[in-house]
C-alpha cells in the first residue's frame, strides 16, 4: 500500500473516515456468490496479488495512522480493552516478534527492525516511534509487549492458550470489535466464546474449526473473512459503549442508508506462536459505505441480493433487523437483475 495516510480522519463524532478509490477496489468483499450462509471458510494465509489486502501477513493501508489514534482514544477511556493473564507472557513476546518482523519485512519504508542477539531496535516512522529494548525483558518496554505492539497495528488481536484439547481466550487487544467484549470473554474456552453465534453450532462449524485450529502449524497461518454491518464508520461498536451507538440504527432511512450503512468485513488471520504454542487470532476490520460500495456495479447487485435473502436468524444476530429493509431499498436501483460473475473481483 502507498505511503499516503489519511492522517486526520475520524471513527467517531464527525466520522470523517473515507475510502479512496483505490481502497474501495481492494475492499475484501466476503460474498463470492449472491447468497450467504456460514461455512468453515478457512484457507491458507498465503500472499495474495500485489496491492490486495492479503499481499502481506498484516495489511497496512491508508487508515493506519488514524486507526492507531482511535485505539489510543479507546484505551485512554477504557484500559481493560487490553488484558493478558499472567501465564500469557511468552505468547506476548511471540506476538511482538511476529508483528515487528512482518511489518519490517513487508513495509521497509515505514518500519525497521534491527537485532543484535536479544537487543532489538524498532523504528515505526508513521507513528514516529524509535525504541531500543531487550527481547524477553518486559522492563525495557514502556508497556507489556502485546499492549505495546498492538497499539501500533490495525485490527484486534486475541491470543488463545492451547491446553486440555481446547483454546482459551486469555490475552487480547480489542478496540475495533463488532459487539463483543474481551473483558467479558477473557478465560473462556473456544465454544464458550462463540456461544452466542446462531446456527453455526448446529452445523458443527465450531467442532470442525476447533479441531482444525488445535492442529494449526507453525509457519502455516490461515485466514477467513467474516462480516456484519455498522452505522457510520465506527470502529468501536463494543457492548461497553452500546448506549453511544445502538440508537444509531434507528436513524437509518432508505434515503440516507447509502451514507450511514457500512459493510464491516473482518479479515481474520490465525498464527501458531512458536515459544508459547498459543494461537494469535487477528481480526482486521474494513469499513465501506454502501455509497462507496455501489461505485462497483457488480458489488452493488450482489450485496443487494445477499441482504434481501439473508437468513432471519443472521439478520437478528448481526443486528441488522432495524435497517436491513432500508439498506435493501437504497441498493435496489443499482440491481437491474443482470447476473454477477463468480468470485469477488470488482470485474
Amino acid at each position: 500500500m502507498s505511503a499516503v495516510f489519511n492522517l486526520h480522519e475520524t471513527f467517531r463524532d464527525d466520522f470523517s473516515y473515507r475510502n479512496s478509490a483505490r481502497a474501495i477496489r481492494r475492499f475484501p468483499l466476503p460474498f463470492s456468490e449472491d447468497s450467504y450462509m456460514y461455512s468453515v471458510n478457512i484457507e491458507p494465509h498465503l500472499p495474495g496479488p500485489p496491492g490486495s489486502v492479503t499481499e502481506f501477513a498484516f495489511d497496512v493501508d491508508e487508515h493506519y495512522v488514524a486507526e492507531c489514534r482511535e485505539r489510543a482514544i479507546v484505551l485512554a477511556a477504557e484500559p481493560l480493552r487490553y488484558q493478558a493473564l499472567p501465564h500469557m507472557m511468552s505468547s506476548q513476546w511471540d506476538c511482538l516478534e511476529l508483528i515487528m518482523e512482518s511489518l519490517a519485512r513487508d513495509y521497509p519504508t515505514h518500519f525497521s527492525l534491527a537485532k543484535q542477539g536479544n537487543r532489538w531496535h524498532w523504528i515505526n516512522r508513521p507513528l514516529q516511534i524509535d525504541q531500543h529494548f531487550t527481547f524477553g525483558d518486559t522492563a525495557t518496554l514502556p508497556r507489556q509487549p502485546l499492549d505495546y505492539i498492538t497499539r501500533q497495528a490495525q485490527g484486534d488481536f486475541v491470543v488463545m492458550d492451547q491446553r486440555e484439547g481446547d483454546l482459551w481466550t486469555e490475552a487480547g487487544m480489542v478496540t475495533t470489535q463488532a459487539d463483543w467484549s474481551l473483558d467479558f470473554d477473557l478465560g473462556m474456552t473456544f465454544k464458550e466464546w462463540h456461544g452466542p453465534v446462531p446456527l453455526a453450532h448446529e452445523l458443527g462449524v465450531f467442532d470442525r474449526a476447533l479441531k482444525f485450529l488445535l492442529n494449526l502449524r507453525l509457519g502455516q497461518p490461515v485466514r477467513r473473512l467474516n462480516w456484519t454491518m455498522t452505522i457510520h464508520p465506527r470502529l468501536d461498536t463494543s457492548p461497553e459503549n452500546y448506549p453511544q451507538w445502538g440508537t444509531d440504527r434507528a436513524t437509518v432511512t432508505a434515503q440516507n442508508a447509502g451514507d450511514l450503512v457500512h459493510l464491516r468485513v473482518e479479515l481474520q488471520g490465525l498464527w501458531r506462536l512458536p515459544r508459547s504454542n498459543a494461537i494469535v487470532f487477528g481480526i482486521r476490520c474494513y469499513l465501506v459505505s454502501l455509497r462507496e460500495l455501489a461505485t462497483v456495479p457488480k458489488w452493488a447487485r450482489r450485496v443487494h441480493r445477499v441482504l434481501k435473502d439473508l437468513h432471519p436468524a443472521l439478520v437478528d444476530y448481526k443486528g441488522l433487523t432495524r435497517y436491513r429493509d432500508a439498506a435493501v431499498e437504497w441498493l435496489a436501483p443499482f440491481d437491474d437483475g443482470s447476473p454477477t460473475t463468480p468470485g469477488t473481483a470488482p470485474e
Binding site: M88, D161, L218, G219, P274, R275, N277
Partner: protein, 320 residues
C-alpha cells in the same frame, strides 16, 4: 504438511550416547537460525533411503533458546522398518536431511502449580526440552528418569549438571523402580504429570493417576508408535480411483504417498489425529495402532489412522 514446506538441514554432530541411542545435531543448510519452538515439540525427519523415503517423528531435545542447531536422539529399534537403522547406519557428519517445522503435541501446561516429569529410556528426549522451558520459571518441578542400567542413561551428565536434586534416577539393573503410587498420591493440587516412555510405563502412570483421583486434564503423555509390520493387503482410494498394494513392511500412509496421493498428516505416530480417514468398505478387520481414536471409535470400524494402522483383509476402500 507437504514436502515443499520442509527445511534442509545438515548433520553437524553425532554422538553415541548409549549402546542404542545416537545423538544428532542438525544445522540449517541455508545457515542462520532454525524456527523457534517450545519444549515437547517434535520434528518429522525425511530420509531418502535407497528404495524408499522414511519419515519419522523425533522429539527436539535441545534448548528452545539455542536455535543454531536442533538436537534429536534416535534409538535403534530392533524391529525397525528402516528409519532408525537409516539414521544409525547411513547418516554421517555432513549428511543432508529434510525436516518439517516443529509441532508440539506434548506442551507444558502454563497454569500448572507444579510439574512432575517422568521419563523411561528414550522418552527422556521431549522432556529435556520441556526442562529448558521450566528453568527460571518459578514453578516447582521434579524429574523421575528410569533406565535399564547406568550405561543406558542417555544425557545423564547434562541432567545432573542442570537439575541437581530435582533429578531422581532409577536403574532396573539395581532393582530400582519409580514408586508411582506414592509419587502420584502425594502431589499438591494443581500438579500436572507428564510421561514419555514405553507403553507399559505410560499406561501404568495414567491408570495410577486416575486411581488417585487426578483429572484427565492434568495427565500428559506422548508415545510415538512406529507403524508395525503386518500382512500385505490392497487398498482402493475411492476419490482418486486407484488401487494401491500395501506390503508387509510399509505403512498404509507410506504406500498411499508412494502412489502419488497426498494425505494430510502431522505426527506420523498415531497421536495427532490429522490423517484420520473414513473407511468406506472392508472385507476383514482393521488393526488400529493409534492413540487417537477412542475404543468406541475403533470398534465402529468406519475410520482409520493410516500413519500407524493397517488392515487384515483382502481389500480396504478409503475415502481418499
Amino acid at each position: 504438511m507437504n514436502d515443499a514446506q520442509t527445511i534442509a538441514v545438515e548433520v553437524i554432530g553425532i554422538e553415541q550416547v548409549t549402546p542404542q541411542i545416537k545423538h544428532f545435531k542438525l544445522a540449517a543448510v541455508a545457515g542462520g537460525s532454525l524456527p523457534v519452538f517450545s519444549g515437547g515439540s517434535h520434528i518429522i525427519v525425511v530420509m531418502q533411503g535407497a528404495d524408499r523415503i522414511h519419515k519419522n517423528p523425533y522429539s527436539l531435545l535441545g534448548s528452545p533458546q539455542q536455535l543454531d542447531t536442533y538436537e534429536i536422539g534416535v534409538r535403534r529399534m530392533e524391529e525397525s522398518r528402516g528409519g532408525s537403522h537409516f539414521m544409525h547406519d547411513r547418516v554421517v557428519i555432513g549428511s543432508r536431511l529434510e525436516i518439517a517445522h516443529p509441532v508440539n503435541l506434548f506442551g507444558l501446561d502454563k497454569i500448572a502449580r507444579k510439574h512432575v516429569l517422568i521419563a523411561g529410556g528414550i522418552g527422556i528426549t521431549p522432556i529435556l526440552a520441556q526442562l529448558e522451558d521450566l528453568h527460571g520459571g518459578g514453578v516447582p518441578y521434579e524429574l523421575h528418569y528410569s533406565v535399564r542400567s547406568a550405561e543406558h542413561a542417555a544425557f545423564l551428565e547434562r541432567l545432573r549438571r542442570r537439575e541437581g536434586d530435582r533429578l531422581h534416577t532409577y536403574y532396573d539393573s539395581e532393582g530400582q523402580m519409580i514408586g508411582f503410587e506414592t509419587l502420584l498420591a502425594t502431589q499438591p493440587l494443581g500438579t500436572h504429570v507428564y510421561v514419555c516412555g514405553p507403553a507399559g510405563m505410560i499406561n501404568h502412570v495414567i491408570a495410577t493417576a486416575k486411581a488417585c483421583g487426578w483429572p484427565d486434564s492434568h495427565i500428559h503423555w506422548e508415545q510415538f508408535s512406529a507403524p508395525p509390520v503386518g500382512d500385505a493387503f490392497e487398498v482402493f482410494l475411492a476419490r482418486s480411483k486407484i488401487s494401491v498394494q500395501v506390503p508387509p513392511d510399509q505403512s498404509l500412509l507410506e504406500s498411499i504417498e508412494a502412489a502419488g496421493v497426498e494425505v494430510p498428516y502431522l505426527c506420523r505416530g498415531g497421536v495427532c489425529g490429522f490423517c484420520h480417514t473414513r473407511v468406506l468398505e472392508l472385507d476383514g478387520d482393521l488393526i488400529h495402532n493409534d492413540h487417537f481414536l477412542s475404543e468406541a471409535d475403533k470398534a465402529k470400524g468406519n475410520s482409520i489412522m493410516p500413519c500407524v494402522s493397517r488392515a487384515h483383509c483382502k481389500r480396504l476402500v478409503l475415502d481418499l
